[in-house]
Structure formats: structure tokens, C-alpha cells
Homo-oligomer: 236 residues x 2
Amino acid sequence: MLDLSDHSILSIRFCGKDGTFAPPSPIFRCMTRARPYDRNVALDAALSLFWRKGYHATSLKDLEVALRMKPGSIYAAFDSKHALYLSVLERYFLRTRDELRTLRDGSGPVLKGLAEHLRGVARREAHDPGRSACMLVRTMLDATAGEAELGARARSYLDAIRDEIEAAFRQARADGELPDQADTALLAQRYQSNMTALRIEAHRGLGDAALIGLAEQMAQEIEALGSGRLASPPKA
Amino acid sequence: MLDLSDHSILSIRFCGKDGTFAPPSPIFRCMTRARPYDRNVALDAALSLFWRKGYHATSLKDLEVALRMKPGSIYAAFDSKHALYLSVLERYFLRTRDELRTLRDGSGPVLKGLAEHLRGVARREAHDPGRSACMLVRTMLDATAGEAELGARARSYLDAIRDEIEAAFRQARADGELPDQADTALLAQRYQSNMTALRIEAHRGLGDAALIGLAEQMAQEIEALGSGRLASPPKA
DNA sequence: AGCTGATTTGAGTGATCACTCAATGCTTGA
DNA sequence: TCAAGCATTGAGTGATCACTCAAATCAGCT
């Protein structure tokens, strides 16, 4: 009983299989069947949206616009809003972790790299009009009892990042940048706390100079570890 | 056309006008018309709920249960979910501010009080099974563009708290606990950042010992300010 | 051209959202 | 004892939620 008699306008969209929504090109090489969207592009769009609005405040309507996909396609590709968020969160985590890994794999001294990382985040956020705190922290704070899995996932990713930071401190110690008795676990925990606080201050809208100054203070505390005197925490 | 014939049980609730839900006392002094709920009790219930679940994830249904009020009563008393949240947020802010004020008004040295405050928060959170980060921070992170007022309010409360902290540092300086050149604005900002980070770590579920250790580290940094050497931040 | 099967579509699903209001019930003053 | 007046009630409002599925679309093959 579907009556199409009054459908005078049908929507027309062109989708290149690389995910760009360009008008159709005559050169269409198709193997099995190309997807008219690119999974990575879609995930990046979802990441940006979820990061900005949070899980609860982001509706399927928002996602449809951001991903340029209809609900059916979204569900075919990502199963559910919840599953999509988990995919996005993993993507965010992997990027953050890789960014930290380059600090260890880089050529310069690791301690200096950790300090510079703090300065770099502050500088980047200072110039970003859409400042936003760490997505893992946001997810953790936002996850309710009903979405325990989200919270647990965010926590485990945060733990993995802490481990990555500790690995960097351990390498610094092995390289002789830190005294042998340096407590790398404690240093990593404090470093991560500082980074969390720094990014929340960025989200808060702290003035550029103050933000960079805060990072500078934290960075110098890291660098001071190398000079020996503060390498181990104060005694209780 | 209301048929009550099959209502064999009617709910019975007794509400003292002080908000306690005690059985009716023969001594009911009523001036104009006693409210069967106490605004403060209701606000506390809403505070607990909103703090735990966040603004978006808390539904009117949740509030009806927590406040023991029907939707009509909630709207008569608080206008809207949004307005209720603002009232609750102010309540939270005032408590936090007052707690800080007692540090200044107390008898002991202010610097020691600030350090003890960090230790106290860590100890309190360590024993609280329902650990939760600062509600102002949560609100700020949760507020979307569509609820700009919520975010702005949270930010201004955070600013007010920073001012309160700075006032404490200024008093410490006036009392001779800090050197004259101590930068109280910078100290306050860092103190608040540390507190934010500490409470997020609590929310994260950091082990009790680690949480208390983190606070101890922060507290000793504050106390070290009094010994002169670290009173001003490292030079850039 | 026409068939085939993978893919996209978008109107529609029931549930739940924040919120309303006519009706009810209780307290008070007469 | 009762009328008046207001706080409380809770079923109901339209909107929006996450999500579904039959139909349309399109590339590749014959």
C-alpha cells in the first residue's frame, strides 16, 4: 500500500567509493563492491563529534549529518551507537598511545621529550578554538552505571597510557637520565595526572599564557628530575 | 470516568513539613500552607543523583524517584530540569567554597591547612565507594554548545573557587608563611589543578594507597613552599 | 540489455524524553 | 462544618530517542 504518486522529488547523491561525495567519474574500477563511504573518514567524523558533544548528548541525527550516512548504513557498518563509540574510543586511544611511543623511539633524551610533550600539548590547545579535555577522561566521567563497559574501557585505556608513560620513564632511567632509585610508577602517575589537569584547564578556557605557563611549570619539574636532586619524591 | 473500584491499595505517605517523612504528629503548626517536601532535602537528593549520573543521563523519571515527587510538583518547585540543575550546582559550589573558607578562618597556619585539605580529600575519597570527580568539572566537560549557560556557570564557580584558594595563599603570605615574592595566582591555579587531578584519579578508581600517596606528594609540595626555597616557581 | 546480489535508503517502529494541566485532596479561615 | 484556595497528582502531550527493514539502487557478470 505504498503510494508514491506524490513523490515529485527524489534525493540524488553521488558517492565515490573512496568516501568523497563527488559526482560520479567515468573511471569507476570496482572489484567486489566498493563502499560509498570510507570507514576511516567516517570514524574520524564520529570521533570529532563524540569528543565534542559526549556520548549522551550525541544523537543518531547528529551522527547522520556528521557521517553523511543514513541510519541504516550506520547500523550496517557499526552495529550500534554504543559499538560505534567503542570503535571511536579505541581509535582515540591508539593515536594517543602512538604519539607517546614516538617519544621513546625518537632520537633525543626521553626526559626532555616528556617535558616537551607537555609544552606541545599546551601550545596546541592554546591555538585550538575548540579546546577539549582528554576523551578518555570525558568518557570515564560520563559513563553511568548502565554503561559500565564504556567506563571500564576508558579506564583500561588510561591504564595502558600510564604504562606507556612509565615505559618512557624506565627508559630514561636506563639511559642514565634518572637516578637508579627513581620510582617510575609514581612518576608516570603524576605525569598523567598533570596532563589530565592541563587538558581540563584547556577545556576550561584558561588564558593562553596561563595555560602555557602551567605546562612550563610541569615540564620544568620533569626536567629537574634529570638534575638529580628531585629524582625521588619527598619522603613521607 | 475515573474508576477506582479495583484500587485495593492506596499509597500512604506522611510528610512532616520539615521534609522528614515521619508519621503525622498531632502538633502540626501550619502558617500558610506547609509544603509536604523540604526544599533542601529535595535539592540534596537531586545533587546526589546529578553528581552521580550527570545532567544528560539523568531523566525526569530518575528525579521523580530520588526526590519522591511527581513531575508536576518538581516543575512547580524548580521550573525545569535545567533550572533544577543550576540550583543544585550552586548548592554544590557554596558547600565547596565554605569548606575552603574554614581553612582561612581556622586557627592553624593556612599553608598547613591547604596541605591537609588535599590529604583529607584523598582520605575521604579512598573510603567512599561511590567516588566521583568534582561536579563543577563534570558539568563543564558535559555541557554542550546547546547548554552554554551550564558550562559558563560551572566555569564561573570554578573561578570563584580559585579566587578563594588564592585568598588563602595571600593570607599565608601576609602571615609570613610564604615569602613576599610568592606568586599567589600561580600557586592557586596549580593547587586547583592538583585538586582536580586528584579527584579525577579518585573517580578513576586509583588504589587507596596510591591515591593517598598522590595527595601526600601534592601536600608536601605545598608545605615545602613554607620552607622558602620553592616559594616562587622555577624561572623560564 | 538484463539478471544478480551487495549496499544504501529513509520512512517508520515502540520507547522514552522533558514537560503540562485538569482534577484531586488537604489546610485554613470563617 | 464547610467553602475557598493552593499544593499535589499522574495520565497525557508532542518531540525525539535509538533502531529496523522492505524497497530502491547500483556495479559486475553473462
